[in-house]
Amino acid sequence: MKLRNFYLASAMAASALGLAVPAHAADVKQVQVLHWWTSGGEAAALATLKSYLAKEGYAWKDVPIAGGGGAAAMTTLKAMVAAGNPPTASQILGYYALDYAKAGKLNDLNVLATKEHWDKVIPKALQKFTTTNGKWDAIPINIHSVNWLWINKAVMDKIGGTEPKNFDEFIALLDKAKKAGVIPLALGGQPWQEGTMFDSVVMSTGGPAFYKKAFVDLDPTALKSATMKKAFDNLAKLRAYVDPNYAGRDWNLATAMVIKGDALVQVMGDWAKGEFTVAHKVAGKDFLCYRFPGTEGTVIYNTDMFAMFQVPADLRGAQLALADAVMSPAVQSAFNVIKGSVPARMDVPDTAFDMCGKKGIADVKKADAAGTFVGSMTQNYAQPPAIATAYTDVVTKFFHGEIKTSDAAVAELSKAIDAAK
């Protein structure tokens, strides 16, 4: 017991010391960036930003915290900020940025923002997360959308399938695949993946107005409505098309099943495209990208942002240079071509992008104009983490049969969200 305590104490002491190393005044031409882009494609995408900054004469001090989704990175960031030693900037998602902004930990970027007219080129919906009280304190580098189908073209041709336009056609297509003996739906049975798929199912079942009412406004009647029940029923239908070994599978392994032709389709955000690219597959030739059936014209987004922290005055120049680099059209294009997402700036030309990227860029513009550009519930862009995780809890429990009926799921959803508020 004592020995363990001592180890614990010394480990904590060591980590506290490690985090408290102050920034050196000599490194004014250096940016320290915390992020979790450590996988092959992600790291390659980030390298475009690094080399841009290097050309401007700024050194990049990497603080990578591996772990997709960034849970570990967020914990580290919290510790760094609490210790009074924040990085120059950190990759950040949705409401986490607002939390730091509210706590007064972020720096004002309005000098650059007004000069470069960011408010004109960034979708209004995103500005909710990048500005606080009219002050820019975070900047988006990309827009991901989650309502995509990724389809193996060879399998699709073999079974004679066509693009499904609504949910029933989707089920018919999955049936065809099942008859042909391929796994119809490649799914990784982890809470966030099931939640991400359910975001699309809700959008498909209820449309953008319902989605907004239920998930953005948390309207209790919408959450308990028959439409929500129908969405859960639709989700239950999809359960019949996954292979028996889906529980706990990582998302990229599910993507690999589609790439190899073991499975027909995966419902996943456009980061899945990065896996196809790494496997040297070409959009339109080897794989197809369609919007989730019944969600054409809407985009359920999440976005990767950099939050700019309060740094000593002598590091301010480097921080602004980083912000300028992230927001430069050149970096936004190069970064997103590799990452699989689309630029956060609406004025970046789509020439360098493949078929899916071009469609993504056009869809975001259309959805932004039509007001059907909405945040992903699962990815923390509709609600803060406490509520978003309560939501994924219910979805995953329902999908794995812990919650047995859609009636119970709807009741449980309202209850869980209330408890998390």
């Binding site: 010394s10 914990t75 919290k78 939390d99 809470p191 292979d243 070994n245 529980a247 803060p384 998390a420």
Partner: protein, 312 residues
């Protein structure tokens, strides 16, 4: 006495040295005592304080009384659908029980078998001990792949011709926790074996010989003499195992693949996710305090009875 009376000066010197010698243990222990005071007990109090607040993503000191404990208390009885906390507690009981019992019995069994003066013991011992050298992430990932029906054990059996073989626990949320237990037992049984082996080696051979002369069978010898004499080893093994079971975190996540269906929740994963990723720090703190109270409720009586016996 007489010498010191004759030479008073060296006597003073000796007493100074003696005083220093007396103080030395305290001086040496002071830093670690201070560290433990701050980093263990200080942080326990800090966690307790947080559990009474409404802290979400960051700490705040808006005290709301016992609200968070009340929340956990109601969750304790939510069985259908199971709340995360309910699942965590049930899984802890299942996992902890299986883990401790199997580790002790397998460890003891292996130790007794290895203690039969067999050839090649030097080779066998490290083989059993080796799993402990692997980190839990590696252990968990390896077992996850090994138990996966599509690529692991089940497929191998099918390839060998045993096509009716069916083993899908690792992808069945209801059975997942047993897979975590299997992996955990594999990882630590060898270590427990080493503890018991050391204990067995420490038993005086004369006693065993005496038992033999009295006509005790070897089963009786072990049952009546050896195992009771290993009691202190049981104590340390239990403390280590319960501690390992309570803090297993990486193993759970790596075997189950991020907790599908919320079915592989343990108090440790619950505490971490509520504190750090779900932005409900106060609820997480409350669960940490409850975990600590639970372990104290188990360990303190056990330690008390064992240690009192020893001092008698």
């Amino acid at each position: 006495m007489t010498v010191s009376a004759l030479t008073p000066v060296p006597r003073a010197r000796v007493s100074l040295r003696q005083r220093l010698q007396n103080a030395l243990p305290k001086l040496v222990l002071a830093p670690s005592f201070l560290l433990i005071l701050v980093f263990v007990y200080g942080f326990i109090s800090w966690t307790f304080l947080l559990s009474l607040t409404s802290s979400k993503a960051f700490t705040n000191f808006h005290f709301i009384g016992w609200g968070n404990y009340l929340k956990l208390w109601t969750w304790t009885f939510e069985r259908d659908p199971p709340s995360n906390w309910y699942t965590a507690i049930v899984n802890m009981g299942l996992f902890g029980g299986i883990y401790v019992v199997f580790c002790l019995s397998i460890g003891l069994g292996l130790a007794i078998l290895l203690d039969q003066k067999i050839r090649g013991e030097g080779v066998l011992r490290p083989i059993y001990l080796y799993p402990l050298a692997l980190s839990f992430i590696v252990t968990g990932t390896a077992w996850k792949l090994f138990l996966n029906p599509r690529i692991g054990l089940e497929k191998a059996m099918h390839d060998l011709g045993w096509t009716s073989f069916h083993f899908d626990w690792v992808v069945n949320p209801r059975m997942m926790i047993y897979c975590v237990a299997i992996a955990a037992i594999w990882a630590s049984a060898g270590f427990i074996m080493a503890l018991f082996l050391a204990g067995l080696r420490g038993i005086d051979g004369e006693i065993l010989k005496a038992a033999q002369i009295d006509g005790a069978s070897s089963f009786q010898t072990y049952r009546r003499i050896v195992i009771p004499m290993l009691r202190p080893v049981f104590l340390s093994a239990m403390i280590i195992l319960i501690n390992l079971a309570l803090k297993s975190y990486d193993l759970v996540l790596s075997v189950t693949g991020n907790n599908p269906g919320g079915a592989a929740e343990l108090p440790s994963t619950f505490m971490y996710s509520y504190t750090f990723t779900r932005d409900q720090m106060a609820v997480g703190s409350a669960s940490a305090i409850i975990m600590m109270m639970t372990i104290a409720a188990v360990m303190i009586p056990y330690l008390y009875s064992e240690l009192r016996e020893k001092s008698r």
